[in-house]
């Protein structure tokens, strides 16, 4: 629910902040995984796209593909998230990013 509200807010703000057809990326965290969602600012789901996961030194940790619903799940156990994560999504014509800090992850894990 919170994720949906966050993405809706971003989409509402996007026309003011960027080009008419920009990519909006949002990532939410729970204790197990980072869930990435990508949509265009016109509301359409980004059905294809490369998702790059980088660490605090901007080193590439892994590369994934968006699912057809515009999401991808990154299990925290699959990446070294101790320095936080930068999630980059590139659909070919458009790209954007979301930053997840170690504090974001710790907050969700109740520590």
């Amino acid at each position: 629910m919170i994720r949906a509200v966050g993405l809706a807010t971003l989409l509402a703000a996007a026309p003011l902040a960027a080009a008419a057809h920009s990519l909006v990326v949002f990532a939410s965290v729970d204790c197990d995984a980072v869930t990435v969602e990508a949509k265009f600012s016109n509301g359409k789901v980004a059905q294809k796209g490369e998702v790059r996961v980088l660490d605090g030194e901007n080193s590439l940790l892994t590369t994934l593909q968006l699912e057809s619903d515009g999401t991808v799940h990154i299990p925290l156990s699959s990446v070294d998230h101790s320095q936080g994560l930068v999630i980059e999504v590139d659909t070919g014509g458009h790209d954007n990013y979301w930053i997840v800090t170690p504090e974001d992850i710790a907050r969700k894990c109740g520590s």
Binding site: A19, G56, G84, V86
Partner: protein, 300 residues
Amino acid sequence: MQRLFKRTVFTTLGLFLATVAVAQDRPKVVTVNYPLQYFAERLLGDAGDVEFPVPDDVDPSFWRPSIADISMIQSADLILLNGASFATWVDRVTLPRSRLVNTSAAIEDQFIVTESITHSHGDGGEHSHEGVASYLWLDPTLAIAQAEAIADAITARELASADDVAIRLEELRADLEAMDQTAQSAFSDTRDVALIATHPRYQYLARRYGLSITSLEWDAGAAPTPEQLAELSSIAERTGAQVLIWEAEPPATAIEALRGLGMESVIFPTLAHKPSAGTYLDTYQKAVSDLSQASLGANN
């Protein structure tokens, strides 16, 4: 002698620990541009620290922070946003809502809607100037509204004494009103003078003082290409403009090239970053003086 030594050591240690404790307790405010940093510093006085974390060589509108930057910002007691689509990074991170303040929320009805132009330059990659003009603080009356929002936020969160903040706000307001009066006077005879700017940054300045500014899309401080000079020449011929406004010091070759077109160059820093010398107030006033003099020269 030994007693005196001990007393000196304990006193020094006590002072050190007190200083450390005070430093740890000091509120931290983070801003997305220099004008907000300047206003917050004036309003907080010695009661806290104000940080503007964007490197000097990066446009703060399109800065991409690191994870460490965001961790630092998330730990701030107050995060001051400009609003008006300035600082795109704020929509790409999680920020604590209770500590976020949009300093232009009360003046959104005064925003200027701009045309859509997507292009690419500098550190931030491809970006667009569509939406809303962002450089609110170039109109001192809007800057006053932003300063008032900051004062309210500081007081509401008890980051400084409310009485002290109120006094400092009145001083800051007086300075900004004087700055506005100076600009009103300086531009009183330049309303019919056509001007050209290298980048679309001066919408609020132009509206406040009735200036007629046509904007290009040149990189800040970079030498123009032959194509750009041809476009400038065409606009200058159409509008009659003889003055080009730069955001930053251009290369000497660019100034020479403009002289060849019969145009004078004026630097009007946008102040999104702290100027290398001086403050928001005196840099703005010098820029106003330089621009008005050049405009009057072109008018004669």
